[in-house]
């Protein structure tokens, strides 16, 4: 048996509530990390996965305390160790790669210094040797020109570069164990795939053990040998990663895998009812009981123990795992979406360009925007009634900018946005009449910020009803209740404040508010990004249902290509504010033709160890679109030459109706697909 590096024994961590009750964040966790293996810890927000990872470094956050158990490293308990001794282990024996490197790097210290600090603390190198080592480390994490990067401040690097610096910093102490807390969350798909590939390389190269914490099964699937699934502060399933992803024998994992949309499958994934219980909710039985499809009477009052199955090398916490053992192929069943597409055009964007450039005084006087290279340019899209069109692209691709202009939050620089063939919506909010405002509603990414925390649910939903329809009294109340029922929330939610709702419930309220205006078009800006996977599926299903009921048109912006695949009829791929490809989802996903679409789709991580991401292009970050030529020229791996640099590529239309903007002839683009 291989050497065990860290032993977690019966670990419980929690806090004291105001009433003096002990509330557990981690409940009786026992697991071992072996030398050289990568363990993925997966769970939704609030499952205690980050607390567990931090405890493995002997760190317990302010406000929390260890209730019992230990984290043993080199046969000493980290949780009982003095700070002075911990300083010798942290960074040297166990290193952490944080979730958000942008915030985890000290803003007033140069990159080089921050790496040097780790070297000074954890090695005996002399100054010149350290300098060389810094360059070596930055090289290892594949940062271009290490010497200049070392002299920069953290904010001068892009998100991906910051994350790489964090990796370099962690490697400086040549640790035996690396803890990674959501290291790729918040990065663009392509960057994420590159960072993961780097981490895999480092694991092989240095033989370091890794603990990879993430909510993203796709990322976990790419890196881990073993997976620990956490739910409500407990381990519910632990075993070899392939088995867990292919044949999950715990109902939660089973449901979770089913609720993740997949690239290869159109249609909405099945959702899990409810959401994870809040820490401190007392339960006698199984913590998953409320949401479980396989539960029995005894699950209600008895909590199952973690049971080790020798033949599968898996531990599972369920009375009923046997019923899943026989039939747990995660052959996904999806709810096919009905297209309610009508032949009537509802919104038309022609030649739209949008600029963030600051107006000079003269321009303000003349009421014009002069910017020859605007953030968004040449957007031509026809949107049909009842359609769901998705705008996809990495951060900076201008997808949210376009939504803002349609909503009237941002003035267009040029071009026309036309509603229902005759109404001009190119102006901004102040110039639109109330009815123009009513027909377009927005749902934002983060319901915590888009719902006023001082208003009750009733007041939130009442606002559009009062504003647009002048409803009052009983009628108003009846309408609110109706809307709440439509989003599957009971009448008793009316008196609640947003803070009393879970993430999914808040987003449902936001959806209800949008529908209250009886809009023709709803703009969805990353509506599921802030939600847990199991809740995301439910919200997507709800949006689809409402759309079928009301015949609404959705313009859907998301960075998650699998979600887009699940819900949209048509996809528009954007790069640097310019369209690359527009076409029916089915065709774009099956035969991605534009080189950028190929790059994007290749980088998507699927929760399947057999599907590896394809890294086609470098993940360079471009700050501004090029002055002339194709917007993707800087990263394109199939660049033809001067023509791409000087001329804006023409639209080419395929047989299936995809429009592609590329200089490479269609035949060649499609030929490469087959290979």
């Amino acid at each position: 048996m291989t050497e065990i590096i860290q032993k977690v024994k019966n670990l419980s961590i929690g806090f004291k509530s105001k009433k003096g009750e002990e509330i557990l964040i981690l409940r009786n966790i026992t697991t071992n990390i072996k030398k050289g293996e990568t363990v993925g810890i997966v769970g939704e927000s609030g499952s205690g996965k980050s607390t567990l990872a931090l405890a493995m470094m002997g760190y317990v956050k302010h406000g929390l305390y260890t209730i019992g158990g230990e984290c043993e490293f080199n046969s000493s308990n980290l949780l009982k160790m003095k700070n002075r001794d911990l300083e010798k282990i942290r960074g040297r024996k166990i290193a952490m790669i944080p979730q958000n490197a942008g915030q985890a790097l000290t803003p007033n210290l140069k990159i080089g210094y921050q790496i040097d600090e780790a070297l000074q603390l954890h090695s005996d190198l002399k100054e010149e040797e350290r300098e060389q080592k810094i360059s070596e480390l930055l090289n290892k994490v594949r940062l271009p020109s290490p010497e200049t990067i070392a002299l920069r401040y953290p904010h001068e690097l892009s998100g991906g570069q910051q994350q790489r610096v964090a990796v370099a910093m962690a490697l400086a102490g040549t640790p035996d164990l690396l803890l990674l807390d959501e290291p790729t969350t918040g990065l663009d798909v392509t960057t994420q795939a590159h960072v993961l590939e780097l981490l895999n390389f480092i694991a092989k190269d240095t033989g370091t053990s890794m603990v990879y914490v993430s909510h993203d099964l796709g990322a976990i699937a790419q890196v881990s040998d073993r997976i620990i699934v956490m739910y409500s502060g407990e381990i519910v399933l632990e075993g070899p990663s392939r088995d867990i992803l292919k044949k999950p024998i715990h109902p939660y994992t089973y449901g979770l895998l089913k609720s993740i949309p997949k690239l290869s499958l159109a249609g909405l994934p099945q959702s899990m009812p409810g959401s994870q219980p809040q820490p401190g909710t007392m339960h006698r039985g199984c913590s998953f009981f409320d949401r479980c499809n396989f539960s029995e009477e005894k699950c209600k009052n008895n909590s199952p123990q973690l049971e080790y199955l020798e033949e599968l090398k898996t531990s599972v916490r369920c009375f009923n795992y046997k019923s899943l053992m026989n039939d747990s192929q995660v052959n996904q069943t999806v709810n096919k979406i009905k297209t309610s597409l009508q032949d009537k055009e509802i919104l038309n964007l022609s030649e739209v360009s949008i600029s963030y450039a600051k107006q000079k005084l003269l321009d303000q006087v003349l009421n014009r925007i002069s910017d020859d290279n605007p953030t968004v340019k040449d957007i031509n899209i026809n949107i049909k009634k009842g359609e769901t069109i998705a705008l996809v692209g990495e951060s900076g691709s201008g997808k949210s900018t376009i939504l803002k202009s349609i909503a009237g939050l941002l003035r267009t620089k040029g071009g026309i946005i036309k509603f229902d063939q005759d109404r001009n919506l190119s102006s901004d909010l102040k110039e639109r009449d109330p009815n123009d405002l009513r027909i377009i509603q927005l749902i934002f990414q983060n319901p915590d910020e888009s719902l006023n925390p001082n208003h009750t649910v009733e007041e939130i939903i009442a606002q559009p009803l009062k504003l647009y329809f002048g409803l009052k009294g009983e009628e108003l109340k009846k309408n609110i209740i109706d809307l709440l029922q439509k989003v599957r929330l009971g009448e008793f939610y009316m008196s609640r404040y947003p803070r009393q709702l879970s993430g999914g419930e808040k987003q449902r309220v936001a959806v209800a508010r949008a529908f209250a205006a009886k809009p023709d078009i709803i703009l969805c800006d990353e509506v599921t990004s802030a939600l847990d996977v199991s809740v995301q599926a439910a919200v997507l299903n709800l949006l689809q249902q409402l759309k079928e009921d009301f015949g609404t048109t959705y313009i859907f912006v998301s960075h998650d290509l699998a979600v887009v695949r699940a819900i949209s009829d048509r996809v528009a791929v954007l790069y640097q504010g310019r369209l690359c490809e527009v076409g029916p989802s089915k065709d774009v996903y099956q035969f991605p033709s534009h080189p950028y679409t190929e790059v994007l789709l290749g980088a998507v991580l699927e929760p399947d160890p057999d599907i590896k991401p394809k890294l086609v292009a470098e993940d360079i970050v471009e700050e501004k679109p090029p002055q002339k030529g194709c917007s993707f020229q800087g990263r394109c791996s199939r660049i033809l030459g001067d023509i791409c640099k000087n001329e804006v590529p023409p639209w080419q239309i395929t047989n299936s109706g995809n429009s592609i903007r590329c200089h490479i002839p269609l035949k060649e683009l499609q030929k490469d697909q087959i290979n």
Partner: protein
Amino acid sequence: MLFLIIKRILLGLITLFIVSLITFVGTEILPGDACTTYLERQAFGEQLEACYRRLGLNVPAYERYVSWAVNAIQGDFGYSLSGEMPIKEVLGPRIKNSLVLASAAIFIGIPIALILGIVTALWRDKLPDVAISTVTIFAMTIPEFISATLLILIIAIWLEWLPGIVIVPTDVSFLELLPNIILPVIAIAMIMTAHMARMVRSSVIQVMASEYVQMAILKGVPYWKMVFKHVLPNALLPAINVVALTIAWLLGGVVVTEVVFNYPGLGRLVIESISNRDLPTVQALAIILASIYVSINLLADLMTLMLNPRLKTLQIRK
């Protein structure tokens, strides 16, 4: 960067111009003028005419403003009415005295405030924090005229250690002034230090809770090194502006304290000249106080800009 400094200085000058205009218009609108105040009951006929001519009040208002402004730029604010002294000479020693008071309070108060703020933040919710925080909150809430009066009562009257009020001529030398300023400095420093210590405390606590400090701990950086390298530079940056405002407030004359201690500083001059209807002096004071505020805030902004790498590089890139 240079462009930014020039822009800020220009904005400051415009502010000063507006302030001067407002005070000038204000003094014009008020009934009565320098001559009627000065001549009192004799303010009629020949004598009034003569006074107007002597003080140059017989020309239109805008001309007077222009000539006043031109002189003021050169440091000549005209004549004070009480005693007909040049205002320059009245102001000089007052400014010096206020400077002495303010710098004493600053040199004592700011280091203490920083230390208290940092200590309370690092030992948050422990005994040092609870003890110091109680005292600072107490010091913050007592108005200065009460603490000043109490100080006089205890130290000057009961213990007889120090003089209770300042009874020296305005233009006394620094050494003679020294024993007199101890009590006023304590009275001012108390409230100022308490405010700043609370500010520093919350700022340090905020930085201590940040992800980069957690990262530094997890990197194995020893505690005090982490405090000095990772916490303080980031926590004290926002304090600069508060310190600047406090300094401006101090220089502008801590009116109440100066009156209680009979201290011959700018603050008392403000009170005196207003109650004497000494309009030229009020005008001069308004402009001087405004320039103190403007220049100190400008300095603070530039310092923040220099110390914050984020802002610094942003400006250079542009």
